[in-house]
Symmetry: D2
Subunit: 292 residues, 4 copies
């Protein structure tokens, strides 16, 4: 356990914030899948700091270099390795970390875990920068999933107590997911952008930071995906999502709110619609017993 994850599809993340490069090896991709590099760059630019005025000012070009696993634009079936060089590594900024560990970061726990040998510059391997290879891996996988009709999108649920309109879980359109998937400031209610930027800038002006919640949806997922007990969709997703620094909670469907409801309110009744079994509500996040 550590920076390697997965079973059928395995990802192995490497790199440190101020080292030479960061990257990922993806093992187990199906062969023959067309991978569009522009699509990858689009997703990576959505993450990349420096391109947005409100986000952290560190600028990184985040240009992934694919060194294996793709030939003539298609996956070969062999491991796909992508490299992202670190170009903006102002290590001097961090020279005092070994003296004063930052609260809310892994500086202190990392030093205990690695007997003082871990790379503290910029958080090292614990840096938020390590989400770049994760976004790369996601950008590859979403192209393959999209071809199977599975679309995944997310929006800002809340930042600094400014709340976007939540998904209507029983009725999420392909258009909405597609539009969110390309947005640089993903909101269902675009008018919330100003309030969010204002709140973030206000905190920054006071040398402070804000928190937020991301809401994610997947549509087109076939029924019957997942396995019982520890192989459930919730188990698998949470086992990777907590790999994103700062994530401290995850919920599916109604999540914690279900605890205040009665079964009759929270359960999604089955019914028939055009000869198919459907539910009219979606309080369970489309997952029952770990299975879609």
């Amino acid at each position: 356990m550590g920076s390697t994850w997965g079973n059928k599809l395995k990802i192995s993340i490497f790199g440190e914030s101020h080292g030479e490069a960061i990257g990922v090896v993806i093992d187990g991709l199906p062969a023959g899948e067309v991978i569009d590099t522009n699509e990858i760059l689009l997703q990576m630019s959505r993450r990349s700091p420096g391109s947005d005025s409100t986000s952290t000012p560190r600028k990184e070009s985040d240009e992934p270099k694919i060194v294996s696993g793709i030939l003539n634009g298609k996956t070969t079936g062999a491991p796909l390795c992508a490299f992202i060089e670190n170009t903006n590594t102002r290590s001097n900024d961090y020279s005092e970390l070994s003296v004063t560990p930052r609260p809310g970061h892994a500086d202190y726990t990392g030093q205990i875990r690695y007997n003082g040998s871990n790379d503290l510059r910029g958080g090292g391997h614990f840096s938020g920068r390590l989400t770049a290879p994760l976004v790369f891996a996601g950008a590859v996988c979403r192209q393959i999933l999209e071809r199977k009709g599975i679309l995944i999108g997310a929006h800002i649920f809340s930042i600094a107590n400014v709340f976007d309109i939540p998904f209507d879980a029983a009725n999420i359109s392909k258009d909405l997911i597609c539009s969110l998937s390309k947005s640089k400031f993903a909101l269902i209610d675009a008018e919330k952008e100003d309030a969010i930027r204002t709140a973030v800038n206000a905190a920054r002006a006071e040398d402070d930071s804000v928190g937020g919640i991301v809401e994610c949806a997947a549509i087109g997922v076939p029924t019957g995906i997942g396995s019982p007990m520890f192989g459930g969709i919730e188990n698998i997703i949470s086992s990777i999502v907590f790999g994103i620094p700062a994530v401290k909670g995850i919920e599916f469907g109604n999540g914690f709110a279900a605890a205040s409801l009665r079964g009759s309110e929270n359960n999604d009744s089955f019914t028939y619609k055009n000869d198919k079994v459907v539910t009219e509500t979606n309080n369970c996040g489309g997952i029952l017993g770990g299975i879609s």
Copy 2:
């Protein structure tokens, strides 16, 4: 992935609600550990339905039979297998499941996943009854952890909108954990018991059910446990916790509440106390970068 979990310590859960037996194989236990059977029975009786007037009326004796891995009261290092016979299997009650899948259960998704071959009686392998071998495994492990000074306890955080007093995360006493660990109705504020029972019984009287939240704490955990990214404590714990039927959300420390706070409010500042690095608050659940 499925009903087998773990890496250094592996557990493999088997059985169906109305089959002959359920159980667990635990592989990787350290050798030479004394295991007190009475302690196991105490923990299992806390789970076992039928012993409490407010819980589900299905009665199960839940007497585990250890068939391997323990000799003369101590672990041998070989896999420990425990069996729990199903004695109260009223399968007739479930004969209509294949016609009408229950909402909020895996009856329908399981049938799709297994092409109609899964055991539907009582939910089969998806039944809440399968938490009995999980409790058994926990009851074994907590004895070993306790010898290392690690104590784990949980209480009812809320049921049906009746809320117990939450843990004071920065200050949880050994006495409190020990007392909760033995309680049949684990509350910090015992006076909430009546209100909870009333709420549950009210729902039951209307053929309905209620939801709830469990709050869990571990004390005495050494610093430096966990690994980066996917090997973090949050990843590992959530990968097993969602194996408990009905769990739809998990959070660590302040969890979702942190999203409304500023960094200055949520971060736990480091300080020295008796020459040791400590934090005076505990908003991160004792975990930074996945590491304790």
Copy 3:
């Protein structure tokens, strides 16, 4: 790592030679597969000591009791657990093991590994008896594979320097595999049986034992099974085969003999036969680059 093996299909073996029972949990079986108990019993009786006059005299009935995962004769998709009670556990015979570890057994290494807490009676979890649950798992899997046209069989290649006729690797008939799969003394040249029994009995008369080699073949395996590097068929098979006590070597195709050959002699040339790519020889054991 230990007594749990596998990825898509996971097996977890438990039990000790003189404990209450031994068994296996098989997780990941496809649902809806008919499992014939008589076929399982037939395979288990081939392993079971006591039924053959030349093998070890310990008698075990080896009747597996399936406690989960099968309903109405078909797999449910949930873990299949099988139990085999130990009925003939003459622990007194082994009371001196902790004083005098047997050479060629795990008595000594096991004691070091488990700080003296391992069950020494009859070799405990290291006993050859633990092959019974392995045979059970194989007997289940071979029924599923057979329905896909994959047949697996083995024969005595040699015992005590008496050699059977080896497989003609390029030409193994279904009839031969089927007949070997049912045989209690699997030989291609049945006339070798007497010589083998004589050699074994001669060694036994001198309180000694003999060695042997098993040759195994699988026919009907589709091309393209396996993965590169560590996911090759050879890697996967050897990772489980060395779980059988006393196995000290494994080879595929020509194996070690290939080391004395030139490439031109050892390589299997490709050609077309009825519009299909075939090889006329089979020196590679049907595996190139780990893939069938």
Copy 4:
């Protein structure tokens, strides 16, 4: 399963023979370990073709570039990623592979496995060149093991029926292992070098190739390493060794030769020497029940 291996220590190999680069991510290394780059280069030069007149004429500099996991010459505990650029990629030589797959290579099986999308140039990900990152990983690990007193060395057991003197398994000196570990043509009997070179060159003159056997020894391994059944040393080693192209067999200790011996000849009797349990012979390869 595929190009990712391991549990506590995980390696993930990537790259194709004629792609941009090959390399490895090593996750799980202990932190604070000094890694000597010259030692790595020495081991890699032993593998690198082109430096020896008798080996394949393809020249590769094989200069690994460490991009993460090492800071100030010591492991940080984060994944170590090393890159090796491919500089000599004469892809034209292989342009006919998709028409005529080479016997004894994965050209054909790889195409079936990956539906014709795999990179055929130079064998792609199946190329013997992919052993370079394996050697890199080994060169890192052996430095850490050496500090614990564990030394590993190998020599040519035979090539083209020219046989070196085998190890005296019960008595392998540190000096011998150290000297073999540095040798460019590792032989115990240096006088066999001429005969081997002559045999290889003779085959090459006839556009043919030869086979061989490598014998490997590890000394200083503490007792009690390994786990029962599938966690045995033999299982673990063979699960990685078959990742080396062309390996078709593996044996431990006497291996297949044990099959011709009686128990009394093959078993290593235990005795006491200077108050320590020892064996005077070493027919089991130092492994009993999978444990050292």
